[in-house]
Structures are given as structure tokens and as C-alpha cells.
Amino acid sequence: MSDTSKAPTAPAGAEWKPVPLLEKIKKEGRVWGDLAQQYGVENPEPPWKTSLEGICEALGGNPCDTSTKLDQKWLDGQVDRKAVGDAAPLPALERRWEEDELSETIYKDVPFPERQLLALAHSLIKRGLVKEDELASRLKQVHQRLTST
């Protein structure tokens, strides 16, 4: 089946490298389908899905913003926010193309919308917008915060 929509994304030859933190979540995280079944909850989607959509929309920015600059630094994840100026942090089309690629490779066995969430985190880390280690430590804090009350 030929590719009917060519989506230029990462530079030629770039591959998707797994992010260890996200691989751990992928392997160990419990997906909504299992949780809902276990607890007898009927909602077809997890409660965080709408907030995830809010993040994606907010990152997509203003339609007139510069989407991306043809700048190797940006593609490599070394972001100079001043150089990029008013660029949307993660424009919708690029985010979706990366989600498509990740969904066919690293996250191909992850259900939706967990897959969308992992792809989002992966895109942010790849661009240097969020660092893996700070995400790891924030995750610990969040778990502690939510399980202590």
C-alpha cells in the first residue's frame, strides 16, 4: 500500500529512539481499558483525556504563529526559544505526524489514548521542551501527592 500523504517530519535518516522513562510507563502503566474493567467503570475514556486534548490544543498555538523554522537545532531538540520567537511550541500537524510515526513503531501496541499521551511526551522531550529527568522527578512527586491524601 503506497503512502498517499507524504509527511516531512524528522530529517532523513532520523529514527525514533525509545525514551527510557516512557518505555517504563509503556510497560508498567495500567491502561484505562483494564482499569475500567477492574473497577466496573463504564466511561469509555479515561478522565484525563480531555485535559490531554487541552494540552495539545494549547501547545498548537495561534494559527498565525510560525510553525517551525527550518533550523537543524530545532529539529535536533536544541531549542533556542529566542531564535524561534513566537513559534507555537508544538504545532498540531507536526505533533500528529510524529504521533503517527510513533504509533507505528515504538508505541504500536499501546491503546488509545495512552498512545497519544506517550507520543506527546516523546515529542516534547525530543524537542528539548521538557527534559526526561525533570519529568521523572515530577512524576514521583505527583504520585506521592496523589496517594498521600
Binding site: T4, S5, N62, C64, D65, K69, G85
Partner: protein
């Protein structure tokens, strides 16, 4: 020229919507008419385009003239000073895909292009 003002879009579009906010900003009336046969140009892609590869070089018919808007190739870079007319162009599926079954000769596909992608056929 890109707009450094983050609120620029909000200022021009609030209360009107997008693409309504670009009404009247193209350089003149639409170049093509409804019903006109057009060919999709194979312009070089400079990183960002919304013109699908499967339509390049195909001939179809203008079905609808939709609106004026900056072309996505410009809008992606923040270049929103120029607008173009947009057109929905309708193709026979058999003209897009060589193996499309002859039994379904009526089937069509339509999709939208900014004016720069079209030439008379």
C-alpha cells in the same frame, strides 16, 4: 513579514472567526471559476505543505470556491500579509489511481487547494 505581536491574530479574528477574518484580503477576485478544469501543479515543497502528493499533476474540476486565507505554506512561517483564494477541486478517482476499478467510474474525490497550486487544464 511575521507578526511578533502574539495577540495579532486575536485582534483581527475575534468576533469574526478564521478564515472569515481574511475576507477581502486576496489580490483580486478568484482566478478560476466553478466548473473550470484545472491541473494541480507540482511545485517544489519547502518543508511545509498541505498539498497532497497523490494530487500532483492530476486534472479535476473546480467544485467550490471556499474562502480567502493565507496559504498554509506561508501561514506556517507567520507570513500572513498575503491571502489567496481557496478552491475545492473534484477529481474522478480513475484519474487519481491507475488501478481504480472501471466498474466504479462514477466515484470521485475532492480536496482543497490554494490558488498557487492550480493552473488551467
Amino acid at each position: 513579514m511575521s507578526h511578533g505581536d502574539r495577540d495579532h491574530h486575536a485582534k483581527i479574528a475575534t468576533g469574526k472567526g478564521d478564515p472569515q477574518c481574511f475576507k477581502g484580503t486576496a489580490d483580486g477576485p478568484p482566478k478560476f471559476k466553478v466548473g473550470q478544469r484545472v491541473r494541480i501543479k507540482n511545485l517544489p515543497d519547502i518543508f511545509y505543505t498541505r498539498c497532497q502528493v497523490y494530487t500532483r499533476g492530476a486534472v479535476g474540476e473546480v467544485a467550490v470556491i471556499t474562502h480567502e486565507s493565507p496559504a498554509p505554506e506561508d501561514e506556517a512561517w507567520g507570513h500572513v500579509d498575503k491571502s489567496e483564494w481557496f478552491y475545492i477541486v473534484r477529481f474522478k478517482q480513475k484519474d487519481l489511481w491507475p488501478e481504480y476499478p472501471a466498474a466504479f467510474a462514477n466515484d470521485t474525490l475532492q480536496t482543497e487547494f490554494s490558488e498557487r497550486w492550480l493552473e488551467p487544464a
